[in-house]
């Protein structure tokens, strides 16, 4: 296992210590349970947008804590959702009279643990469950669609609304709106290695790729021969477009995401292809995000996410944000 770590069991705690050291102006870190909180939390009369989930997807979520985005993030062990008391601690650190919006990616573990925390909370808590992964085709005979890349877009936009002072109802409505208009799909070229497991989560041949992967090193929906960038982008983009569907004339945000080890040179290349394919269909890309934002440790691969914009979403997207990973 090729990793820069000490004891596998300490990876998350040690990493959070480094994060706290790196960003003293932006955030503080509580340990036991582990919670990453905005430096200036609680922010009076502002809805606290709180998210979390297993670690290993960095910068998601802790890298999005700060002005204009998350009030707190709750990092669980690698690929394992955090426990309810950690979520409760995050609520306690950030609630400031306007309630809490929990952003939960749709995995059984995340849903159950956040649900328990919400039940136990004594403040006004609302939950949005992100489920943007179109790779999960049959969502009635499964745990439902996973929450993947769309999570970042939702956190940014709802975080902007909270920063602006919108109330919990309005933030929740916006979150549901973003959730209903965002779709994603991902591909892996290599498997990640979970530190405590010590070996790759699945085996891929030298000329194979895994299509429709999640972000936890789960194997994907199917395996296929590795293709050119053109082929790969088309395999991700077509199902995303057709699912909502996104139509000619729609204005969208295009998010081209690296799963970790796919370098920027390849990611921009893929992004350029996606822009061209969308233009060919008359879908108008108005905003874009390109980079490693929702990752799966050192997995090579990428995902594409489309969000159908409206004026309010676009305007909120553009408002200032100041976090370790997103800043403008």
């Amino acid at each position: 296992m090729k990793k820069i770590v000490n004891e596998p069991a300490d990876v998350v705690a040690e990493s959070l210590r480094g994060m706290a050291a790196a960003h003293p102006q932006l955030l503080r870190v509580r340990t036991d349970p582990a919670v990453v909180v905005r430096a200036d939390a609680p922010v009076r009369d502002r809805v606290a947008v709180v998210s979390g989930g297993g670690s290993g997807h960095e910068p998601l979520h802790a890298g999005f804590v700060g002005k204009g985005m998350l009030a707190a993030a709750v990092p669980g062990p690698v690929f394992t959702s955090p426990t309810p008391d950690a979520v409760q601690a995050a609520i306690g650190e950030t609630e400031a009279g306007a309630g809490v919006l929990l952003v939960v990616k749709n995995y059984t573990g995340d849903v159950l643990n956040f649900e328990t925390a919400a039940e136990l909370a004594e403040v006004d808590v609302r939950t949005v469950v992100v489920q943007d992964d179109v790779a999960v085709e049959d969502s009635t005979n499964t745990a439902g669609r996973r929450g993947v890349g769309g999570t970042v877009l939702l956190e940014r936009i709802v975080g902007a609304a909270a920063e602006r002072g919108h109330d919990l109802d309005r933030c929740h409505e916006l979150a549901e709106r973003v959730g209903s208009r965002v779709r994603s799909m991902g591909v892996a070229l290599t498997a990640p290695t979970v530190p405590h497991a010590g070996e790759p989560s699945f085996d891929l041949g030298a000329d194979e790729m895994e299509i429709g992967i999640g972000i936890h090193g789960e194997p994907g929906r199917r395996r296929a021969p590795l293709e050119s960038a053109e082929g790969i982008v088309r395999r991700l983009l077509d199902p995303v477009i057709e699912d909502l569907p996104f139509d000619e004339g729609d204005e969208v945000l295009l998010f081209t995401n690296s799963m970790g080890a796919t370098p920027l040179i390849e990611l921009y290349l893929a992004h350029g292809i996606a822009e061209r394919m969308l233009a060919e269909r008359g879908i108008r890309v108005r905003r874009r995000l390109v980079g490693p934002y929702v990752t799966s440790l050192e997995m090579q691969g990428m995902s594409l996410t489309l969000l159908k914009l409206d004026d309010e979403l676009t305007e909120l997207w553009d408002t200032p944000v100041r976090t370790p990973a997103l800043s403008w």
Binding site: T80, Y107, T108, G109, T142, A143, A197, R221
Partner: protein, 213 residues
């Protein structure tokens, strides 16, 4: 053939912890095949924490031990299995109340309550390829063993055997709940890690209780 005391329950929890530690890699491997490779790690972390809680704060009744295990699992496991096992132990604790010794019927009732807790939280039914596929036959077997007058050790032995068969039979199933469900048809051909850990725990509980008799 006596009842199951607080000490017995504590011993069972300790043995359960040793068992999941011993089978940690097996559970990780099962979970790597159709999940995210953490089930062994999760269970080991949870049961270690449970043992240390149970040993540091003396509980007076079997129910109190089960409740402490429940809250510790909930606050230390995470993932899907944390709330599910946690809820199972919580409901089992409620079911046994504050008696100081459990007889066979109480053990069967605790298992049944535990299973209902898992179902309430996780909404899985038999055949969905989850821990329910081990737990449900275990409850049936436990109830019939208790009905024929078996004590805790006989009830747990029956439950464990049924759970093992149930777990083994998950191999052919296509998952419809939890992370394995994303694999669709590809989830068939692998034993469900949660069903395996359920069988493992019940087997260990049966053994410990059997030895203590």
């Amino acid at each position: 053939m006596g009842g199951c005391s607080t000490r017995d329950v504590i011993a069972a929890v300790r043995a359960g912890s040793e068992a999941v530690t011993e089978h940690r890699d097996e559970l990780v491997r099962l979970d790597r095949e159709i999940g995210d490779a953490d089930h062994g790690e999760n269970m080991e972390r949870g049961f270690r924490a449970a043992v240390s809680q149970v040993e540091s704060a003396p509980s007076e009744t079997p129910g109190a031990v089960l409740k402490l295990v429940a809250t510790t699992l909930i606050s230390s496991v995470g993932g899907a299995s944390g709330p599910l096992y946690g809820t199972a132990f919580l409901r089992a604790a409620s079911a046994v109340g504050d008696v100081t010794e459990l007889d066979g019927t109480a053990v069967a009732a605790a298992l049944q309550a535990g299973m209902e807790g898992v179902t309430a939280r996780g909404k899985a039914v038999v055949g969905d390829k989850t821990m329910i596929d081990a737990l449900s036959p275990a409850v049936d077997a436990a109830k019939s063993a208790a009905g024929s007058g078996h004590g805790p050790s006989g009830v747990l032995a029956a439950a464990a055997e049924a759970a093992h068969t149930g777990a083994r039979n998950t191999e052919e199933l296509v998952a419809r709940k939890g992370r394995a469900s994303y694999l669709g048809e590809r989830s068939a051909g692998h034993v469900d890690p949660g069903a395996r850990s359920t069988a493992l725990l019940l087997g260990t509980f049966a053994e410990t209780t059997g030895v203590r008799r």
